[in-house]
Amino acid sequence: MTPDRAHLERLDRIWRDPPGLWGFLTTVDHKRIAARYIVTALLLMFLAGMLALDMRWQLSVPENTRMTPQLFNESFSLHGSTMLFLVSVPIMEAMALWLVPLMLGARNMAFPRLGAFSFWLYFGGVLTLWIAHAIDVTPDLGWFEYPPLSGPAYSPGHRADIWAQMITFTEVAALAASVNVAATILKMRPPGMTLARMPVFLWAMLIASIMTILSMPAIMLVTSMLISDRLVSTQFFSVAAGGDNVLFQHLFWFFGHPEVYIIFVPATGFISSIIETFSRRPLFGHSALVLAILSIGALAFGLWVHHMFAVGLPRLGNDFYTAASMAIAVPAGLQIFCWTASIWAGPTTFPTPMLWVLGFLATFVIGGLSGVMTASAALDLQLTDTYFIVAHLHYVLVGGAMFPLFGAFCYWYPKATGRLMSERWGRLAFALIVGGFNLGFFPMHILGLMGMPRRVYTYPAGMGWETLNQVATAGSVIAVAGGMVFVANALWSYWRGKPSGADPWGGSTLEWASASPPPAWNIAFTPVVESLTPMWNDGRPLKAMDGLENDRREVLITSVTGGGPLYRQKSAAPSIWPLVAALAVSAMFIASIFTPWAIPAGALPIGAALTGWFWPNRPRAKIGPFEAKP
């Protein structure tokens, strides 16, 4: 089916954003919102990386006085909080926000304004933390601030409250984004895309979203309890009054462990998509991969105590969590097998995205294996809170999430911009980043085994730690240099890259059916899916159907399991209400750092904003309930 010009022009008129600043503030186009998320997250990744280099320089020399302990403590706290709350989870959400409608052949997300709201709220969280840093009120107790150190007695002032409230921002934003992604994947699939024909990427994003929804409340609860202890003198974490410090740890890690899998699971989606395309054949072990992601999603909620093995909890419980933590290596290991088998089975080529897949395989498996070592409750008593754990967490997060993310970036860059990134500079960036990272972080395993604890701003001379620390610094510098090359490549290619066309790689999934870059309405018709690889479709041409109006914004809603069309749903037009609501919520969150009265006072503007948002914009239907006539 070839769309005629008139059809496309009408679509464009209906779906494009208003021009200028107003369009910028009111857009509900998932692609624009996702782009903002990604640009912000990449900028924050750079800033966090600079903090990391600062710390590495400080640690290159024993008893270094370049950084005061206060500055160092602020640096590692800011680095960790930024990377985990403001970069990793949001950037995965952003990739979902950008790709899910395209991969579903849909015009927009299920809740367009909710997507905009989630970005503005996330941005509020970014500003909360980083403006606080700019005015020297940086939180300085790490990225998980255990009481009583973070309680009212030992952390005077508002630093801990700023940290806790930043989390509230980002978690509400994450909840909004996850609900959006999950609803879209479940209810807006193209006709014919049954759950069995859903690509692994979409499974990964669906599971990650559900995990987010189930785990975020725990951390919102616990950070609110901490603020409440500090602000209105409740006694949740006060032992002398019958509270318990360990409660904080349990609630935090009940969220904290699933969070790292929330970061990893979308990466499995990236890897699956990239391997399938470049191995030129359907992924081996599709069912195994999907089941593995499901089991990781479920198991991840039963592991959190492995962050607390040194707390002195009952031993038999610790042994249970050892077994559970090791068990999660089974689905992860099977995924590695399936991906390697897919590479083996096809005439796989290795442009830059596939290089990142190889980097991921080599690096993440080290992280996974060091994780198996720390999963042992007994051995963890030697390894936790040392540089061994620092090495482990970076190997799994950087190797397991960042490398797939960089690969995904190179892979989908042509779709987003219409241009290809330079292969040569891409290979150089890959070599610098992967090589530099391994050079920088592998020695940390050894440092931990030599007794170097983490979160220390300096260490004594004569411990034998100097050389490895210097190697770690050198590696980190190389990796950051590689990151600069990567960004430079992306920027340069935006204007000078080779035009890519709609489908430069010959991809297997539906996002390659739209133009590059996709227009505001994504795709002219609704594709009909007949296989797991709809763009290849076993050699048959891709079928499409029509029926969505082009004089108003509409999306197609389909059934959850079978993907059969159910009805057409009006899709929200650009609106200022998400921004207004986000401003109201931000004001309430920030003010509640200082006074509890902000909560009732803030409820009024929020109520007003939500009223504006949900104000009905069509009259009540005049027809009665739908009756099926015999």
């Binding site: 005061t68 302990p69 255990y146 009583p148 150190l149 007695a153 030992y154 032992v239 002398a240 318990d244 410090n245 360990v246 191995s279 072990g285 040194a310 707390v311 002195g312 042994d319 050892t322 090791m326 290596a329 089974v330 290991g333 099977l334 097998f337 088998a341 590479i343 083996w344 089975a345 096809g346 005439p347 796989t348 080529t349 190889l358 498996v365 294996l369 060091s370 070592m373 042992s376 409750a377 007994a378 051995l379 008593l381 030697q382 936790t384 809170d385 391994n438 020695p443 085994l449 030599m450 007794g451 604890p453 979160r455 220390v456 701003y457 300096t458 260490y459 004594p460 411990m463 034998g464």
Partner: protein, 330 residues
């Protein structure tokens, strides 16, 4: 370092072991953990090599398939491979889980023979150490240095006075958190004489990096002699300098520090009875020496910024006298 063969890591890493390392075990507990570590390295190292071999093989196979019209690879063969991989992973993990369980049992095996009780309390940023005197039932207090007799199990009771700390002497024991409101217990059975170093392993504030302590494993006779000396009160100052130093000390330092046998009975700071016997000062921050003592007294905030120990402006003669007095406290 990535070319780990089965035995290589143990050999190589043994060379990195020091007096604050789990790779140079000096107690029953640390030996159990070291054995578990070796098992882990063998299994995990082997798995990693298998994975890399698999990836390399798949690269070569992919290259050979490129540009040809060969029949696509058999799905059934790969399917069988999947089951084999699953079985291998489960078996490997089972081995490690059993190993971990056995090591965990070994950590508490000494419990029934616990005889000597030591209480370690974490403060920001130093360690209060108290030995239970079996004869009198009183607590003999010292700070920042732990002595243990070889071959005998010591039961260490861990508490915290302020925030969460963690007791960690890698050569002797894994870390156990010291949590306000909880009393954690760890049993240590040292097997090797020597000096080791421990460090706080849970971020506890500004000077977490400088909260370390020395641990000395003595023969039973040496340990008994040391404990008896700790129990004895300080002898009265003899020389003029040290008696002047004693007077300044009572006046200026006595409200925070205690020295048994003198009026100084402050509880806020470390006990300084027999201070000169110790190997380091300020919780492992500086080695014990006259220069270090004087530097610490003159400007603690320069050496350990954020510490609760204040700089006390003293006349040079008074400062000298106090340092001399401290040096007499053996």
């Amino acid at each position: 370092m990535r070319r780990c063969l089965a035995s290589l890591p143990v050999v190589l890493l043994g060379g990195c072991a020091g007096n604050q390392s789990p790779l140079a075990p000096a107690s029953d507990q640390a030996f159990a953990l070291h054995s578990l570590f070796v098992l882990m390295m063998v299994v995990c190292g082997g798995v990693y090599l298998l994975v890399i071999a698999g990836v390399v093989w798949s690269l070569l196979s992919a290259r050979s398939r490129r540009g040809t019209n060969t029949v696509p690879a058999s799905e059934r063969g790969l399917g069988r491979g999947l089951y084999v991989a699953a079985a291998a992973i489960v078996i490997g993990l089972t081995v490690l889980i059993v190993g971990s369980f056995l090591a965990d049992r070994a950590l508490v095996a000494a419990r029934s023979e616990a005889a000597m009780i030591v209480r370690v309390t974490g403060h920001q940023w130093w360690w209060r150490i108290e030995y239970r005197d079996p004869a009198s039932g009183r607590w003999i207090e010292t700070a920042n240095e732990l002595h243990l007799p070889v071959g005998r199990t010591a039961r260490v009771e861990l508490a915290s006075a302020d925030v969460i700390h963690s007791f960690w002497v890698p050569n002797v024991s894994g870390k156990i958190d010291m949590i306000p409101g909880r009393r954690n217990i760890v049993d240590l059975t040292p097997r090797r004489l020597g000096w080791f170093r421990g460090q706080c392993a849970e971020f506890c504030g500004t000077q977490h990096a400088h909260m370390a302590f020395d641990i000395k494993v003595d023969s039973q006779a040496d340990f008994d002699a040391w404990l008896a000396r700790q129990n004895a009160v300080v002898e009265a100052a003899v020389s003029n300098t040290s008696s002047r130093g004693a007077a300044v000390f009572q006046r200026v330092c006595g409200s925070c520090h205690s020295v048994r046998g003198t009026p100084a009975a402050g509880r806020a700071g470390p006990d300084l009875t027999h201070f000169a016997d110790r190997r380091s000062i300020a919780a492992g921050t500086l080695p014990m020496s006259r220069g270090a003592i004087q530097g610490w007294l003159a400007q603690p905030q320069a050496l350990k910024p954020g510490t609760s120990m204040p700089a006390v402006p003293l006349l040079p003669a008074d400062a000298d006298a106090v340092a001399s007095y401290l040096e007499t406290m053996r």
